[in-house]
Symmetry: C2
Subunit: 334 residues, 2 copies
DNA sequence: TTGAAAGCGTTACCAC
DNA sequence: GTGGTAACGCTTTCAA
């Protein structure tokens, strides 16, 4: 159906090798025959067949992106950037969503392997020893993002979440808060399910370190039960004599928590302060604006893509690449 | 490096044809040799090479998704569904974002063609005759979504936006609104830039049809200038003696408009009603909740994918597939 | 400067 | 049931 180099070769009465030389700007070809071939290609509406090329060259010019989902809009923004940067280098993106299902993640990675992608950007949900071995066994350059895997087994791009949360605690203390609780998903529960909780742990650790550093004793980690139960328990134990705040794992948690508190008639920030993490777009629609920690998602995409391409060129490639962050104040604190 | 069927053939002292029969469950093979081969495959850690398969079979088991961007979170949700459904059928997704740049769209489609994708789901931004011809020339099954292209040139999945907006006007009138304006991007301006404005036009048409149908004369289409200028002009011309509402092209417009009006000290819904379209998630974070028109995005994804696969099986495939919608009330109307 | 042929990994057809 | 081989479209190497 479609025109091939063989068609061009016959049309021009040359060999396919010569056609290849013309088409790919290789040396060792007469300028006139080259022009003749290029014109014929145009005339016959030739388009290279990437499958053939891939097979012959052993490169697919494709990278796989394996991600939880697209609902937290941190991911779409990141993928948007990754796609753009990869395209600039002539690479295509296979998008695989795992929905935090370990089976889907492993299957997806196997398929990427079979399809011979040249590299993978992975938001890992697995974390076991066996899983890491499996990843190594693929022999494909992998850059991890968001969650870390093992001990520098794969290059990692992220934020120093521990330090950021520690800074957040200090920030709250500077504002006069002396009673600071931390709202997080059930970390140990998720680990029992075999999920990677690297980021979750880092952030929780940062909270605890921060509390210790500033000399506050009342570490309160709201971790078990539904969001409502956790906040209910919190409210029961509080008379708000001290200046109180809830530091949240991420903005979407912060938004939900604030909504719930407001419905219960608690005023933010007058009775309680709220602080999130990530600076997601939804914050713009919430009143009061929630204080948060911001980092550059486009920059994260760029670092990840640059890193992956470096890995694809050289053999060896490791290390942690941590981005800057800044604290953003908001009406949710006073 | 990796094990091939040839390796297995040598290991088992059979031909590659036999290995192929075993691996792909084809008939005409002795059960015992089959088992022997399967075990060897396992032992040698064989994984099929999709590039080789694609070349031989003439199918890549890949579909391309060409979309504006991922910022309006209608798209991520849709793509999430498309990815899941395609995966269930063993297909992979090439994701291409065009950022509403016509060049990027055309390039992306060319590349998908060279990579021999089996089908394309396209959110088109082009609309010219030449563009449609170009799409036909690719000889790839294409399903359009969001924007329509030509006159039934390609199957289309969407919502009957015209009817929905007409219904929205009726809905407002039933609520007692007699002064209804319509807020939209600059349609003719976008067309001059060569952009596809099918959906924009349908919705604006629905507004006008609705106004006529209910016998309201005051058609006010707020279309030119920045959002602020448009609303400023609107406010200048209004004394709010009549019960007034602004119907908006989409929710993100509605949110922005409401924010601006609120900042200007106008009360929603007391002084003016607001209504949007799409039921995006951000509506949950806005006070008051904005009335809107809702349709099922997962269903849209399913219809599109099913349709594409039908197109990929048969030769011929056209038609319009319109989804149901419902009007959702909200505190932005009284 | 050009041609011929092997090779990439798989499928499919035709003999045996 | 099985083996051999051409074919898919392209790249690359070796000879001429």
């Amino acid at each position: 159906m479609a025109t091939t180099i063989k068609d061009i070769a016959e049309y021009c009465r040359v060999s396919v090798g010569t056609v290849d030389r013309a088409l790919n700007g290789r040396t060792g070809i007469n300028e006139k025959t080259k022009q003749r071939i290029l014109e014929a290609a145009q005339l016959l509406n030739y388009h290279p067949n990437y499958i053939g090329q891939s097979l012959a060259r052993g490169k697919t010019m494709t990278i796989g992106v394996v991600c939880f989902d697209l609902y937290n809009n941190f991911f779409p923004e990141l993928i948007d950037n990754i796609e753009r940067l990869a395209k600039e280098r002539g690479y295509f993106i296979y998008l695989i969503l795992t929905h935090r299902d370990f089976r889907l993640e492993e299957d997806g990675l196997k398929y990427l392997h079979e399809r011979l992608v040249d590299g993978i950007i992975l938001f890992p949900i697995g974390f076991s020893k066996g899983y890491i071995e499996f990843l190594h066994s693929l022999h494909i350059p992998i850059v991890t993002i968001y969650n870390k895997l093992g001990e520098n087994d794969f290059p990692f791009v992220g934020v120093d979440d521990r330090q950021a949360m520690e800074d957040a605690v200090k920030y709250l203390v500077d504002k006069g808060y002396t009673d600071i609780a931390y709202l997080t998903p059930d970390i140990t529960g998720q680990e029992k399910e075999g999920l990677n909780t690297y980021t979750l742990r880092q952030r929780a650790q940062g909270y605890q370190d921060g509390m210790r550093r500033v000399g506050l004793k009342g570490i309160q980690t709201l971790e078990k039960g539904s969001m409502e139960e956790r906040l209910e328990r919190y409210l029961k134990e509080h008379d708000f004599r001290e200046k109180s705040a809830i530091l949240c794992l991420c903005d979407s948690y912060a938004i939900k928590a604030m909504k719930y508190l407001q419905q219960r008639g608690i005023r933010v920030p007058e009775q309680i302060g709220i602080m999130g993490y990530d600076d997601i777009e939804q914050l713009n629609y919430v009143v009061p604006r929630i204080a948060t920690i911001k980092y550059s998602v486009p920059r994260m995409g760029k670092v990840a893509v640059d890193l992956l391409f470096r890995c694809m060129e050289k053999e060896e490639c490791r290390g942690e690449y941590l981005l800057d962050y800044t604290i953003i104040d908001g009406g949710s604190l006073e």
